[in-house]
Symmetry: C2
Subunit: 505 residues, 2 copies
Amino acid sequence: MLNRVRSAVAHLVSSWGAPPPRPRSPDRLHATSTPPAAPPEAPKSPPAGAGSGSGAPAKTTEARASFSRPTFLQLSPGGLRRADDHAGRAVQSPPDTGRRLPWRTGYAEVINAGKSRHNEDQACCELVYVEGRRSVAGAPGEPSRGQGLCFYYWGLFDGHAGGGAAEVASRLLHRHIREQLRDLVEILQDPTPPPLCLPSTPGAPGSCDPSHVVGPQSCWPSQKEVTHESLVVGAIENAFQLMDEQMAQERHGHQVEGGCCALVVIYLLGKVYVANAGDSRAIIVRNGEIIPMSREFTPETERQRLQLLGFLKPELLGNEFTHLEFPRRVQPKELGQRMLYRDHNMTGWAYKKIELEDLRFPLVCGEGKKARVMATIGVTRGLGDHSLKVCSSSLPIKPFLSCFPEVRVYDLTQYEHCPDDVLVLGTDGLWDVTSDCEVAATVDMVLSAYEPNDPNRYTALAQALVLGARGTPRDRGWRLPNNKLGSGDDISVFVIPLGGPGSYS
Amino acid sequence: MLNRVRSAVAHLVSSWGAPPPRPRSPDRLHATSTPPAAPPEAPKSPPAGAGSGSGAPAKTTEARASFSRPTFLQLSPGGLRRADDHAGRAVQSPPDTGRRLPWRTGYAEVINAGKSRHNEDQACCELVYVEGRRSVAGAPGEPSRGQGLCFYYWGLFDGHAGGGAAEVASRLLHRHIREQLRDLVEILQDPTPPPLCLPSTPGAPGSCDPSHVVGPQSCWPSQKEVTHESLVVGAIENAFQLMDEQMAQERHGHQVEGGCCALVVIYLLGKVYVANAGDSRAIIVRNGEIIPMSREFTPETERQRLQLLGFLKPELLGNEFTHLEFPRRVQPKELGQRMLYRDHNMTGWAYKKIELEDLRFPLVCGEGKKARVMATIGVTRGLGDHSLKVCSSSLPIKPFLSCFPEVRVYDLTQYEHCPDDVLVLGTDGLWDVTSDCEVAATVDMVLSAYEPNDPNRYTALAQALVLGARGTPRDRGWRLPNNKLGSGDDISVFVIPLGGPGSYS
């Protein structure tokens, strides 16, 4: 696994550091042939303060040998070794000297207790500049007439079956989002409703012939109103899909195997967009109140979607799996007896007579952290996993895994936030052993111990959360103060202050 | 339409008054051949107070000519004519003399303002006795050893394209539920967890060989816990499916065309189960607080499910529809331009280049009450509609309509209810013009004007709700006090007091 990840990362530096290919229309999303060539990109003109992720590829990757950690940690070779030490499990945070993360964001991470060779979580935090496409009046390649847009970006990527997908996503997903937003730069800055139809030339300011607006169809007397917000949501959704597709297209050349959960936050024009695909979690803690900003996508929470897909497309199950759910594996000697089951359209249980095909392995089995799709994978949304097959079988898992995130929107302007109001992002290493309420209590405890203007308070909070989930080495394991086992998983946490945008941006 | 409904109803009395066929296993659910013969049923032994729906078919149907109203209204021929008068739109309620509805339930209804020839809503309110199947020790036909179970049942059925489906559902759905519960009579009364597996003989007390409980599979170390509550939910879900299937099987003989939304409440062993398939709605008003007990299933709320089905099964769309959503109909001259769209996995919008196949009619179009599936139907869950085709086409609508309800459970024992706490059920005629808050205000206003023990207070409340949604004839229409249009639809309302079960049952 080590070598596979190493060669993948080395290869990425040369080819994937370039901006991703620019999609032209969604029909391209389903193409599986050779990837289109990346178009040359106009030089970036980031505004003052824009981070490194807005244009050029990250620069430090070449120096890394077998694995990498987020650039913003600014790890020395010695620091990198300490970050990779399963025995010590030292908590890593950006140095409190030098350039801080935007909004004074706090970050902390710790490697797993031996579950995998390296820390398979990755993180990214950037200020990204979006330049509009050339205007209709300009020549091709000429910059847009108007001002560009900036968005703040935070991403947590929890890899599995190797660190390749998380590594790639942490470097490229925000660029896919930027590409999707380029068509929208002028539209999002125009207070009038978005035009429903644009001329075929990208970037031309446009709305169609007004006579089209009302169609003649009886059930369709008027057009739908589409908000600016829903355009940003659509851009994020399509960016996830294009990122996933790029991984699929280039996986054979680069052998970036494995996959990753992706939890991404974007701040754009007064609103916070939280996009989640996987089992990471985001919550807002505001004046002590908890506001969930994501939900987890697992074989249990997505059971009905998975079963429906297996029911409608039985060829995806081969002759090995049944789309029905049973409370435990059916035994051959139970043929003819009646067992509890659930079909795709049921939330309750009923008894059915066991038949031969019920002896197949269930599509979804197990409970909690042990729940699996096709006995193979425990998350149902994320990026990558295109080469993942059912163990000792040629059945691909991917059709059941969706790359689409759920996006929730939080309007930052609707509430007067104080410096203790934060958005907390964590990979499942945090949430497996820490409840929302415990996180809120830690937020209160740590932040009240620091002055509101102390630039280290959010990093201190992130560290406290990671330490609280890791525990301390005791009794042959990492244990929490209550003597329960701490998380042996990789743990990564962002703490984003919500009182910040006006002051810090 | 009148004659078709008449012959269907006449036919129903003779054949569908009998109990529905007893399903043996879910695999029968997909059979489309001739329906199995209804097995002879043991004589019912309903406990004192059990209503007419528990065993024998309703008795008054033969007397009806062209349409029927709920039996419990006890309408005379003159009353039936008044109930059918579109001009007067007199509110109908059960008489305040004679046998009351269980729990002193309030009910009121009014016919539409001319939208259809008859009132296509139907209602049912019963105490249903469930006799367990014969025990393993007994001979076939012998009653179960243990005590049977009773459940209280309320159903509202909002028909469309004829009153046949609503009429049939109001007579038979609770019997399907009873049949589904018969296997569970002993299990639900046993405080130990339900057995996962039963012997093949229905009714035998059973659990399987304990050695089966833990399977050898690595991802399946233990069995799932299944609650009694989830068995009742599963029974209701399967009863809806069997009701729908019976309509499908018998539709050619009886010509019961049309379909209906179904909103059903069951009270069993301390819990209230609210099952909804369609656009009716149930809310609890408890101490002034509103607790939603259902959600509506419409082309808008189910857009993604419908689009996914069209995407996975394009043959269901013929060459006439596209599964993509556009904010308005695409015009041929817009080919090559870029228009906003949403795919099945998106909640946001993005632009795509218009291609030839985008000119097809969208699977889901329109907004609000004018939203339609395949330009044909405005609800996406319900019973019936098996003969419904896309206008001037042979494409069936049914695969997109699901008969499965969403079931929500409310534990009546977890709260000390007072006589002013009620569960309000209404067809969309109520909710189209009345908000949840307005209903809660009416609950407060009406109930506070009556003594807590007044047996008429819940009927008075139901009448007030129906009158408030209907309005009064003025300015060429039925108008509300604020001069807005009242509902011209059929309106039906149940008011179920939650302080009741202990006192009234």
